[in-house]
């Protein structure tokens, strides 16, 4: 039987990094698989090698400490985050975002890092993580680097990652723990759907942050706002940042309108 691609499941970082370095563009990371397998089936990507990273030791970690905040590993599933007591305590917004992703059985597989690294403009974890100041820990055979999440996305399904790199962790700083925040997602039905727009707003120590999905080629973060800013100013800042398009899911005008409504309503909720 001819295989369309080869499959490997390395158990160590070293093995993983050397596979990536050796195969370059032809290799694809399989974490939850819920985006990759869809893309392979539709012919959008045609990898030579699929590398399952779930068997790498300690990749499913999900830890919290006062000093480092939240650390989310590459194999941590969306349901892991959704059901984690510490997440619910310190960053309930992340649980809010997680619950809106697909269905229960998909969330059992889908990973938080996969949701971010796939870099869909409508990634549901992005608005919340952006508001909470998440940082992306990138690793490869060449070494490690850290990028703020807001600088991680470079376009539709494009990121700063090179072919030999993986996201080794997403960290959420302890400083934003306890933020008041909420996520609102416009869908076509109440059941599982992609975000036509997704808006998160947080407030902590007077700072207001707005994260927006499906409104531009990448998820957006609007910073530098304060509790003192009137709602109109926050809305104006959001309107300034977004670049929505019309597509089969929704028109540009409705996206613009709904972002405005959501920002206003969420501001009221978190203030």
């Amino acid at each position: 039987m001819n295989d369309l691609f080869k499959y490997r499941a390395p158990t160590s970082r070293a093995e993983l990094f050397s596979l990536l370095a050796a195969h370059g563009e032809g290799a694809r990371i399989l974490a939850g698989g819920t985006d990759l397998l869809v893309d392979i089936r539709s012919g959008l990507v045609r990898p030579e090698l699929v590398i399952n990273l779930k068997k790498v030791e300690d990749f499913s970690e999900l830890t919290w400490s006062q000093s480092e905040g939240l650390i989310i590993g590459p194999a941590t599933t969306v349901n892991d985050v959704l059901h984690d007591a510490k997440v619910r305590d310190c960053y309930p917004l992340l649980a809010d975002c997680a619950l809106t992703i697909a269905s229960h059985q998909l969330r059992n597989r889908a990973t938080v890092i996969g949701n971010i690294a796939h870099a869909s403009p409508g990634a549901d974890m992005a608005p919340g993580l952006l508001c909470l100041g998440a940082r992306v820990q990138i690793a490869s055979q060449r070494g490690r680097r850290e990028v703020p999440l807001k600088d991680f996305f470079t376009g539709v399904k494009r990121t700063v990652l090179s072919h030999d790199e993986i996201v080794e962790a997403i960290t959420v700083p302890p400083g934003t723990a306890g933020s008041r925040g909420s996520y609102r997602k416009l869908k076509r039905i109440d059941g599982h759907d992609l975000a036509l727009v997704g808006v998160a707003v947080t407030s902590k120590d007077g700072a207001v942050r707005v994260g927006i999905g499906s409104a531009a080629p990448t998820p957006l973060l609007i910073e530098g706002l304060t509790d003192a800013d009137p709602a109109d100013a926050v809305v104006a800042a959001a309107r300034e940042a977004i670049r929505p398009i019309s597509d089969l899911r929704c028109s540009k005008e409705y996206r613009e309108y709904m972002i405005e409504v959501f920002v206003r309503r969420l501001l009221e909720e978190v203030r």
């Binding site: 369309l4 699929v50 599982h192």
Partner: protein, 163 residues
């Protein structure tokens, strides 16, 4: 790839096609056809099975990923030829029509009840959200879950009204 997987209590050792999903492996290699293919894209839930005790869409898992894992499918639900409590409640409440979503639906209900033995209606809806059904309109499935979790009252028991 050579793999070993426990399915419904039996160990299978097989050469598996590396690009095949767990769904194709179960249906085509093991001929366990109770698990259905409704979309192959993670949208419909007809292929829901238990992988290491957790409900997953078998179309969204590579067969190779199940190497060393434990899988349970609908074929193991009725032990010794007797319907399980979930299955019996489905039958009592007319929760089956064409039957194509049924296997996946039963798997999702099992997962739900494992975490939450007395789910509310809202929690049941959340629990089976990933399982599309085009025949029943879900209502009698929800009633079956209320029934099997001991929550049927005269108010929640569905019934046809006559005028």
């Amino acid at each position: 790839m050579w793999m070993s997987v426990e399915v419904n209590g039996h160990i299978y050792e097989r050469e598996v096609t590396e690009h095949w999903t767990l769904l194709r492996f179960l249906r085509e290699d093991l001929e366990l056809t109770g698990t259905k293919d409704g979309c192959s894209a993670g949208e419909c839930g007809a292929c829901t099975v238990m992988l290491n005790g957790e409900a997953v869409n078998a179309c969204m898992v590579l067969a190779a990923e199940a190497d060393g894992a434990t899988v349970e499918t609908i074929e193991a639900e009725a032990a010794k030829g007797e319907l399980s409590e979930i299955q019996a409640a489905f039958a009592r409440n007319y929760a089956v029509q064409c039957g194509y979503c049924t296997a996946g639906m039963v798997m999702s209900v099992r997962e739900l009840l494992r975490h939450n033995p007395k789910p509310t209606v809202a929690e049941i809806k959340e629990g089976i959200e990933g399982n599309l059904c085009r025949c029943t309109g879900y209502q009698q499935i929800i009633e079956a879950v209320l029934d099997v979790s001991g929550q049927i009252t005269n108010e929640t028991r569905g019934g046809l009204k006559y005028v």
